[in-house]
């Protein structure tokens, strides 16, 4: 049975009304899960949805329930998260676990590698991008659905928990020795940051490439919440400003605003401060986390029979670029 037929059968059983699935198409992005867009037609009414299904092998091994609850935590709020509809952790009807969310139409994905993609409205996009991130950081935790699945760390332990996790990923998945990232891990352990100002929802992959915009200066959706967790909000800021997401010849963050402007916007929106020592730690950590993800991608590509080119690209080009960034960061730390 085709995926469209399986999905139609599931939706019909769920809603109790005959439902037809039309225009089912896989879309790129969200490399940790297969992502599809489709229209559900029932009782003459058509509505757009996104299906996220676990793949046989993926870039990041993440908890789909956490992603679902993170999206639900911000649905309908001023952070442009889509509406999460249903989670099937068993997922037998589509062969693998999956969840469904409402589709936000009218937006195009940004690209982490395109040059000057925001042209005449880069400042407006940057203002929204870092304001939304600030609002995620400022969101009170009490009552958020994500609390049902996410562990709440002590503010003093946020850094250790994340570093332990991603260093463990490198240890488990590395197929060729990586002296650069291992040196960075040792520097991070030897020089921990101050405790988090507050424990916040951390999107986990907040960057250029993970939002939709309308082509006229408006962000319409924040995507890819698959690495969401609770932790130090500076983690997201460090990740969003990693040089990997920017053209080396352009001083702006991802072609949007300057680093100083980005930090100022985030401070205004979050009401939080940016300790330079903490920011430097989370900036180096971002590159370690990146290298861990690219290391996993290379392993997943190999284990999956070399079939998915996105995993090859991540585990090869992106890993090498991240090594350059890490080496530059380490030299700068040593010189300071």
């Amino acid at each position: 049975m085709s995926l469209a037929a399986q999905l139609a059968a599931y939706l019909t059983r769920q809603s109790g009304a005959p439902t037809v699935v039309e225009n089912l198409a896989r879309i790129s992005g969200g490399a940790s899960r297969e992502t599809y867009r489709y229209d559900a037609v029932a009782a003459g009414e058509r509505k757009g949805f996104i299906l996220r299904r676990d793949p046989p092998g993926s870039l990041i091994d993440t908890d789909r329930r956490l992603e679902f609850l993170a999206i639900r935590s911000f649905s309908g709020k001023a952070v442009a998260a889509p509406q999460a509809v249903v989670l099937e952790a068993d997922g037998a009807e589509l062969e693998r676990p999956f969840f469904i969310m409402e589709r936000i139409d009218g937006g195009a994905p940004s690209s982490p590698f395109a040059l000057d993609q925001f042209a005449g409205y880069a400042g407006e996009i940057g203002e929204q991008f870092f304001s939304i991130l600030g609002r995620i950081a400022a969101e009170p935790l009490e009552g958020l659905p994500i609390l049902d699945a996410a562990e709440r760390p002590d503010p003093a332990d946020c850094w250790r928990r994340e570093l332990d996790y991603w260093a463990g990923v490198i240890e488990a998945d590395e197929q060729h020795p990586q002296p650069i990232v291992r040196a960075a891990i040792r520097r991070l352990r030897a020089n921990p940051p101050p405790p988090a100002q507050r424990v916040s929802v951390v999107h986990g992959d907040y960057r250029s490439g993970n939002f939709l915009h309308d082509g006229q200066g408006r962000i319409v959706a924040i995507l890819d919440w698959e690495m969401a967790h609770l932790g130090d909000p500076l983690e997201d800021l460090g990740w969003s400003m990693d040089p990997l997401w920017s053209n080396p010849a352009d001083p702006r963050v991802s072609g949007m605003v300057t680093p100083d402007e980005a930090r100022a916007i985030w401070r205004r929106a979050s009401g939080l401060q940016i300790d330079p020592k903490a920011m430097a730690w989370w900036a180096l950590f971002a590159s370690v986390k990146g290298q861990a993800i690219w290391t996993s991608a290379a392993k997943a590509w190999r284990d999956g029979g070399f079939v998915e080119p996105v995993l090859a690209f991540s585990g090869w080009y992106t890993a090498r670029r991240q090594d350059e960034i890490l080496a530059d960061q380490l030299c700068a730390v040593q010189a300071a």
Partner: protein
């Protein structure tokens, strides 16, 4: 560093011959082919420079070992000196990568020892080597295909 060039080329064959269901056609298929095109350009860069880069990196690591060998305890100094005096006779991709694997493992051990001793001069030398290694392995993203 993984993946290797032979892996990438095998991956092209695997990706192009893997059957795709109907819902994976259209824009998704176009994006997938675009990625394969980009990987082809990067593979051409690697094919032209990869062997030379590996030979250079292995030599550069050996140079650091040669200058550091006398500084450490006899057992570790012996391992460093032995690695420093080796050469890459077999210049196939696999042999160079095997050799690089061993050298990088020893380099990690040396750097840990340098940090423990707080030897800032050798620490700086190793960090500069990391910078040169990463730069030498850089792949240039083709601007016409990015985005």
């Amino acid at each position: 560093m993984t993946p290797s060039l032979p892996d990438i080329l095998i991956g092209h064959a695997a990706a192009l011959s893997a059957p795709q269901p109907p819902e994976s056609s259209g824009d998704y298929l176009a994006g997938r082919l675009g990625l394969l095109a980009m990987l082809s350009v990067l593979a051409a860069q690697e094919a032209s420079r990869g062997v030379a880069v590996r030979i250079w990196e292995n030599g550069a690591i050996r140079e650091v070992f040669a200058s550091a060998a006398a500084e450490y305890d006899p057992a570790f100094a012996g391992a460093l000196a032995k690695a420093a005096s080796a050469t890459d006779e077999d210049r196939t991709w696999a042999a160079l990568d095997d050799s690089n694997d061993s050298l990088r493992r020893l380099l990690i051990r040396l750097h840990e020892a340098v940090e423990t001793r707080r030897d800032s001069a050798l620490d700086r030398e190793i960090l500069n080597l990391y910078q040169a290694m990463a730069k030498a392995r850089r792949l240039e993203l083709p601007a016409a295909l990015a985005g």
